[in-house]
């Protein structure tokens, strides 16, 4: 990790149509090159909205941001080439095999021919999916789908990877495989922006974490700094409860 910012966010806000409040409220943030940055927060805090804006899926209402010194308005194509996105949904074609899915998404990022085929095979092997490569994804378990879902977003070795709850609903084995894969990817130089409700996982994986509440960052730092900032906090979960409260967030 170097100390150069790869993502710079300045006073970013988003208000959806027919909504009374700001989903993201004047938020500023620097994400450093090569770090794993965790965005944590209760449901409706604004994590997915923030990531959606950074991925170019929705327009901000106000504010600016850049990725690798570029903005979408000036150079959207270069940004799209340099990012990878792993949505929360199984964003896969269920009647295509794992190999066909990965080949298609790789091709959409400009990968071709034998190189693409080998890359797909190696990636499937890393995730323990080689013998299922030619099976339709619709027949996979939740953990297998999650692993293919992750591979589809990283095949082109992006400079910045956005992950929206990549381990939700998977067993321990699949979770470990995903976390190990992400660590390896990060070692190879990929900056990872990651949201999760799994706080132990975030504590283990992230170099720095921002806790978001009501569209604003209420705390930011390394896991250790955040834990030390709260009296009697033993882990990130204690910090999270102390900062965001115990009340339900349904309907926000």
């Amino acid at each position: 990790m170097d100390l150069k910012s790869v993502i710079q966010v300045e006073n970013l806000s988003k208000q959806y149509k027919n909504s009374d409040f700001l989903a993201v409220d004047n938020l500023s943030l620097d994400i450093l090159n090569g770090e794993i940055f965790g965005l944590l927060g209760p449901n409706g805090a604004g994590k997915t909205t923030l990531i959606s804006m950074l991925c170019g899926l929705i327009q901000p209402s106000s504010g600016n941001f850049s990725i690798d010194q570029k903005t979408y308005k000036e150079n959207g194509l270069a940004i799209r080439k340099s990012i990878g996105v792993v949505p929360q949904e199984y964003a896969l074609y269920h009647t295509l095999t794992a190999h066909e899915n990965l080949s298609y998404f790789g091709a959409m990022h400009g990968l071709r021919g034998r190189g693409l085929k080998e890359l797909v095979n190696v990636s499937l092997e890393k995730m323990g999916l080689t013998r299922f490569a030619n099976r339709q994804v619709g027949t996979f378990s939740g953990g297998m789908k999650r692993r293919v879902n992750l591979l589809a977003g990283v095949l082109h070795r992006p400079k910045v990877l956005f992950l929206d709850e990549p381990t939700v609903g998977v067993d321990v084995q699949s979770r470990n495989a995903i976390v190990d894969f992400l660590k390896e990817l990060n070692k190879q130089g990929t900056t990872i922006v990651y949201t999760s409700h799994h706080l132990i996982e975030a504590e283990e994986l992230c170099d720095r974490i921002a806790i978001i509440e009501g569209g604003r960052i209420i705390a930011q730092g390394t896991p250790a700094v955040l834990i030390n900032s709260i009296v009697d906090a033993r882990n990130l979960e204690d910090v999270f409860i102390a900062m965001t409260g115990r009340g339900f967030r349904d309907g926000i």
Partner: protein, 423 residues
């Protein structure tokens, strides 16, 4: 790669393929057989008609003879060995047992003869051929006679019109014959009996479009195959729009819009794959018309040397349908929006396009509206080729309109997508 992906998705959706290919074929065969049945009932098999003859004289016999000779009707004058009267005939028709009853009035022959005599006497007296006193005493004007027709309320108005027209013509012919005859009798002293020809002076002949010296004779197949093939091609709007909405709901659209490939590549993949489907549909339906119809006793669909022209029309029709499907899929946010809207949209396009009811018999407003239906453009193109012996120049306006429709709908989809979601 985008095309390969789309084709793989199509091939593996067996249910979807059955709907896309088998259902239109089934529709074409069913509609054509049904239409053939009604066509045969009008021209082939005889329709039983109740006849109540209260006249029982030469004119009523002439009418019966003429109706019998037309070939379409079987005259029934008694039910259960009981001679028909107006009341029973009326009941039988209104109950739906028969489609038509004809009631010939009493004294029709004698009254018509008297009326004709009266008219002829008057004319002759004006020309001083007869003594004036003979005119005064020989005949008096008679009140007009009424031939009553009872129709089953469920009978279609086109059938009613055809029957009324036939009977009206028949009666007019008999009246004219009587007048000629009466004049002949009056003038028989000086003029040869064959002086008045009773054969119609003005006749008509239907002349159809010709190809290589042979007249093109349109039949149900020539109309149905293009019409229902187009309906099937445009029905692709439904699965295509659902496909695009599904991409959005299952998250794959997020991947596609965050990768460096522009939206039009995504649309191009869908366009090529669905165009392949449209063309397979088209050739399958042509094959049904050419090979299956004759086996079912329906005239074979005559392609002649027009396969290339028809294929080009099918390609542009397919493009127009795909454009509409992409636009509907891009704008709709759920399958519950896209599926019913797409299906209804196609049915409306087909209805105003003339698939069910010919455009020329639609109300004036609908005739104008029909001109905005791409199905109407495509159908006209097919008819130009198949029935009007049209050249490439004749079908060029339709091809251009279909292409413009494709361009317009794709542009709407791209602009909407750009405005709505991307930055």
């Amino acid at each position: 790669m985008a095309v390969k992906k789309e084709l793989l998705l199509q091939i593996r959706d067996i249910g979807g393929l059955i709907i896309l290919f088998v259902m239109p074929l089934l529709l074409l065969v069913t509609i054509t057989v049904v239409q053939k049945g009604s066509f045969d009932s009008l021209l082939g098999t005889k329709i039983p008609v109740l006849l109540v003859d209260n006249d029982k004289d030469s004119i009523s016999y002439a009418i019966q003879r003429e109706l019998g000779s037309i070939g379409n009707f079987t005259l029934i004058t008694q039910i259960d060995d009981t001679p028909l009267v107006e009341a029973t005939a009326k009941d039988a028709v209104f109950k739906g047992d028969f489609q038509l009853a004809i009631i010939l009035p009493a004294n029709m022959t004698s009254d018509l003869n008297s009326q004709v005599q009266h008219n002829v006497d008057r004319i002759m007296s004006e020309f001083s051929y007869e003594e004036e006193e003979a005119t005064a005493t020989g005949s008096r004007p008679i009140s007009s006679k009424e031939v009553r027709l009872y129709f089953d309320p469920a009978t279609q108005s086109s059938f009613k019109t055809a029957v009324k027209s036939s009977i009206d013509k028949l009666i007019a012919t008999i009246e004219t014959e009587r007048i000629y005859k009466k004049f002949q009798e009056q003038l028989s002293d000086g003029i040869d009996g064959g002086a008045f020809t009773q054969k119609g002076f003005i006749t008509f002949k239907e002349i159809g479009s010709e190809k290589e010296g042979e007249e093109i004779k349109p039949d149900a197949g020539q109309h149905n195959v293009p019409a229902w093939t187009l309906f099937a091609i445009f029905f692709i709007i439904v699965p295509l729009s659902i496909n695009i909405v599904k991409e959005k709901s299952q998250g794959t659209m997020i991947r596609l819009t965050t990768n460096p490939v522009p939206y039009y590549v995504f649309i191009l993949g869908k366009t090529v794959s669905y165009l392949c489907i449209s063309l397979i549909q088209f050739y399958l339906m042509l094959a049904i018309g050419v090979y299956l119809f004759p086996l079912m006793g329906i005239p074979a669909f005559a392609i002649d040397n027009n396969l290339f022209k028809l294929s080009v029309l099918a390609i542009f029709s397919g493009l127009a349908a795909i454009g509409a499907g992409v636009a509907v899929g891009t704008i709709a946010t759920t399958q519950e929006q896209s599926a019913p809207f797409g299906a209804t949209f196609v049915v409306i396009l087909a209805a105003i396009g003339g698939v069910w009811v010919p455009v020329f018999i639609m109300p004036q407003v609908m005739q104008v509206i029909s001109k905005i239906s791409p199905i109407n453009w495509a159908l006209n193109g097919f008819y130009d080729v198949l029935l009007r012996n049209g050249s490439w120049i004749d079908i060029m306006p339709e091809i251009i309109l279909l292409l413009l429709f494709f361009g317009l709908t794709i542009a709407i989809a791209i602009i909407y997508d750009k405005k709505k979601r991307t930055i």
